[in-house]
Subunit: 235 residues, 2 copies
């Protein structure tokens, strides 16, 4: 069949905002640009969408190339298409937001990209409109995590309630009442208590929990409420 005549074709890329959690703080995985333009600056991991590839596939490919991890939680965030956003030539980029278990990543790091985790609070200035992308991803994460249990994606298989709480506290940059927090979390029935304790962070030790995967999937779209007064935190 004929092509559409007279229409200008342009480049088309994906960029991944990759979040991780180190047990204390939210982190962001960035790559060091080895090529011009903006050589030696920090950037999101990205890549061009190939001919026979959907944007989702491209994002997963890019993520895997960098981290070695597949099957990660990722969703389309927003498409950035200002005509001048890439000074080289017009490129439209779909931003994807990904949540990974930072420990998985450490096993499989790909050194080729000179990637580094940065504290989210302390990230360097990024190229192009990547700062804008990160800003939006942060907002979106806060928004979504207030109602849906997505933050579990950032934790290892076994984790403690205090760890979970500091994750939430990191995302919302605040502190929660630990009594209310644990009651709420446990009342969802999403967590299965383990026999072992984590003794690294305290003398008494805190029990490990695992996610009940089945319930997790079933409840994924339902509305939880781990975050009191979400209005206060969500712009």
């Amino acid at each position: 069949m004929n092509r559409y005549p007279l229409q200008k074709h342009i480049l088309f890329a994906v960029d991944c905002i990759i979040f991780g959690f180190d047990g204390h703080d939210m982190k962001l995985l960035l790559v060091h640009r080895a090529i011009k333009p903006e050589k030696n600056k920090w950037s999101l991991m990205g890549g061009f969408v190939q001919q026979q590839e959907s944007p989702e596939d491209a994002a997963n490919r890019v993520l895997k190339k960098l981290t070695g991890i597949e099957g990660v939680y990722m969703e389309q965030l927003h498409t950035f298409g200002r005509p001048d956003r890439d000074p080289v030539e017009r490129t439209v980029s779909i931003a994807y937001s990904a949540l990974i278990d930072i420990h998985e990543y450490e096993k499989q790091i790909n050194a080729d990209y000179h990637a580094e985790w940065f504290l989210l609070k302390n990230k360097p200035k990024l190229i192009f409109d990547h700062d804008e992308m990160v800003e939006l991803a942060k907002k979106q994460l806060r928004y979504k995590a207030a109602f849906h249990p997505i933050l579990f994606e950032l934790l290892p298989e076994k984790f403690t309630i205090p760890q979970l709480q500091s994750l939430y506290e990191g995302v919302y940059d605040t502190v929660f009442d630990n009594r209310n927090f644990s009651r709420k979390v446990l009342s969802t029935g999403l967590l299965i208590k383990q026999k072992q304790k984590d003794k690294l962070n305290s003398k008494k030790g805190a029990f490990y929990y695992k996610l009940d995967k089945k319930k997790y999937k079933a409840d994924f779209k339902s509305f939880l409420n781990f975050v009191p007064n979400p209005d206060k935190f969500i712009l």
Copy 2:
């Protein structure tokens, strides 16, 4: 500066999912395709993104061309980029979701496009992946409207509480308790009571209200709760 070599350039379009409310039901504005492929089928209103144009500008241009209306509530929904979604040639499309006051539109209709309002429940099959876009837009509308007062965008300047309620009932395809509904709505302080009544829909007549624009803007991101048990309605 140099271009990126070796990368395939592709076409880049926008499509608008345009919602309206006729006082009883949710409607969708569709255009009749006069050109091949898929000639004589129904489609979302769309267009290619031009060279010096951002996607947002393109969506607004397209919407204005069809409806004559500017300054409409519109947001980026999702980007659709399956390699085979357009059989003519690969085209990535950003879908925008728009809410318009159907009466404004009637004033300014552009006959060139053979556009028609369809009952949302009763829409024809659309070309390409446009059905998927509409499905997603419906979900998104339900989701967002459960917490944010966006549905006011569909109403004329003056409207009654029963009208507002049937709008919500249309969106969620259910019925709400009218006592609880009006109490909730009025308790937000978003509405300013008018002196006149609408006597078209009842003998007694219902008071008109206007939106308090200032409060509306201020409260836009805050969480309202016009919809009881949102879990039940939002997938």
